[in-house]
Amino acid sequence: MPLDEQRDIDLIKDFRVVGHRPVRPDGVDKVTGRARFGADMSAPGMLIGRVLRSPHAHARIRSIDASKAEALPGVKAVVTSKDFGEVDEDLVDTLVNCMATDKALYDGHAVAAVAATSAVIARKALKLIEVDYEILPHVTDVDAAMAPDAPVLHEDAADESVPAGMSKNVVRRYEFGHGDVAAGFAAADHVIEKSFKTEAAHQGYIEPHACLASMGPDGQADLWVCTQGHFMVRNTCAGILGIDASQLRVTASEIGGGFGGKTTVFIEPVALALSRKAGRPVKITMSREEVFRASGPTSSSSVDVKIGMSSDGRITAAEAELRYQGGAFVGSPVEFGAMSAFAAYDLENVKTVGWDVVTNRPRQAAYRAPGAPMAAFAVESVVDELCKHFDLDPLAVRLKNASTEGSKAAYGPTFGRIGLTATLEAAKKHPHYTAPLGPNQGRGVACGFWFNFGGETCVSLNINVDGTVGLSVGTPDIGGSRASMCQMAAEELGIPFEKVRTIIADTASLGYNDVTDGSRVTFASGLATIQAARDAIEKLCGRAAQMWGIDPDAVVWEDGYAKPAGDNAGQFEPLSLAEIAAVAANTGGPIAGHTEVNADGAGQSFATHLVDSEVDPETGKVTILRYTVFQDAGKAVHPSYVEGQFQGGAVQGIGWALNEEYIYGQDGRLQNAGFLDYRIPVASDLPMIDTVIVEVPNPGHPYGVRGVGETSIVPPLAAIANSVSAAAGVRLTHLPMSPPRILKAVTDKQAG
């Protein structure tokens, strides 16, 4: 059904369900402990799987002798890379990351796995596996990895974009921009150029990766797993194991957080391979230490930014060079960093260059707006310095240069309807912006952007005989999406929210759905739900027409009722959804609506964050005093969960800005693989996180919805850095701004 975009938004002015805050349908399960997450499932005859991991950052695997482990009573299977066959080119890196072949590429890289009748036996078995390693030199820092003499991970991973003569660890180059930056800098009244570093952060979901695999000798398999995308898991695992996709049914468990970290596979193919070999179900649950060492943290980065400004605050030119390491494989999100760096600014002259670099670290995975927060940190810090140089108001300067509808984005296209200016205006008039500050306190402002996307989506909406509705979607519910799906279906159908139940269907029950990522679910599954409801409504109207003996075109759907229209208006009593459903068997059988769509038209989302902090000048400790998020949601379907996305993103940003970092020792081993020393914010670290939902409708969605999940983590690093720099009286350029780094910056400044 083609959507007449603007018309549809205007059509539904007063939402009846959307925009309200009903209790989520999966809520009771989640407050009573009944909800079943990845590790909560078990099966008769189940074995426990465990993975042996490399203690070395970089080592050639000369041989693996598992005979002693295999001989241990209770051990039912041992697998190594030899148990996996050839796979398609696009799955090679994923397989090698799940199970090392000739080299261990990072501390924590899987080299073998066992399945045994108990966890204790599995643990003992791992100790009996003898791996003969030849230790190789390693490199974990992005700048060090680019040095010409750096230890090399892969001989031929670079593509044609990388100029000759660079380290083989440099694997991709990206360049974006337009105009003439040299001329733009020449026209500036002042140019500031600075370099920045950010350390790798982890998504820090509280639920470790877990799965339960069962594969029979007939090749049929079932997998229960916590993932952001079970169809992705199905396709990837089937490809790696060499089985038909139809033979592997994947069920998504409840998922205890992902934030991008559960958009790929780590243990799932291993559990299936163990199960195939043992002929019994195998459960693998990662320990927290394994999650840190061997799942997919984000890139660390090194960024140079140069911006020129005229004395009235107009940016004349902007340039950035970004270097991201993405772990041991190609694929850091540096292109998204390079594309998004200056997205908030309407620029005549702009150029960004991104370098993708491999190092001896775990393969990075997506983390909320992958690549964008580090770029925004560097850019927004330099903009802040320019505002200070000219003594200009930071919001006014951003408003003066803000991207608006018709601006040519630094990454190429022309923006349609976007809400950046609306978030800046909201911030400007908010009391937070003018509240007084005390000594050693500072206020920071920053903007952030994320593309958002839609992707492949399939939903099925079944009208039950009692007039209730079952909605099957294929995107795991990470943060309340069942509620928003129920709302949109109820809105369209004109029935109460409580009459709709949404489930996450397994891979055998629904067509392919892309992963829950890219802030796409409320947008894309929502759009598909609306379309499926409209499909069902068309059928409901047809049934009513049949019952009345009139033309289907002469029936309209209003407030949950089929009503005769046109010449027939008022001739028949309206029929409710329940009344039509009750006699469905007599009018043609079950009634259902379906959508299969590649949902394009996800609207970009912008945010402006305001933060006040205080720095203890004697210890370098930062206290976040006040925080307000202003973000464009297009249309907030369930405002509470939109606020929750804003708050969660802001607080993850606070962690990344202040304390979270991957710390590697000289030996290339991760020093802080646990929540004790990988310091995510705790409740007592924080103030309330205030939110202002700005609604500038997205023309690509019938209700105007924009994705909100990712943009919220883009501004915080920069906003907090600007706030802390103001409070400390010195520009902080290295994240996290841990107390030792701040104290050193303050002391160095005092020393002159």
Binding site: E160, S161, Y174, F176, V353, Y411, G412, G518
Partner: protein, 81 residues
């Protein structure tokens, strides 16, 4: 003819041109013509791209129509978290 803007690092594959002209009415035709006219683009096209048509970004939809005066921008394949 449709005017296509490519990202900077692809200029090495197009003889330093940032703007290309191709005869195409859909995204699929666009990608096919680009690959034919500039064989050095093929590795990147094979790895995957997104296409922005009048500000709306498409990852996969081959048969999205492209008008003569559409603004068309080639982008790396988008992903998210």
């Amino acid at each position: 003819m449709v005017k296509v803007l490519i990202w900077g690092s692809l200029k090495a594959a197009t003889g330093d041109q940032a703007e290309l002209q191709v005869e195409a009415k859909t995204i699929r035709e666009l990608l096919d013509r680009l690959g034919e006219a500039h064989p050095k683009l093929q590795p990147q096209l094979k790895r995957g791209v997104s296409v922005s048509v009048d500000g709306k970004i498409y990852r996969d939809a081959w048969f999205t129509p492209i008008a003569e005066d559409s603004e068309v921008v080639l982008l790396p394949r988008l992903a998210g978290g």
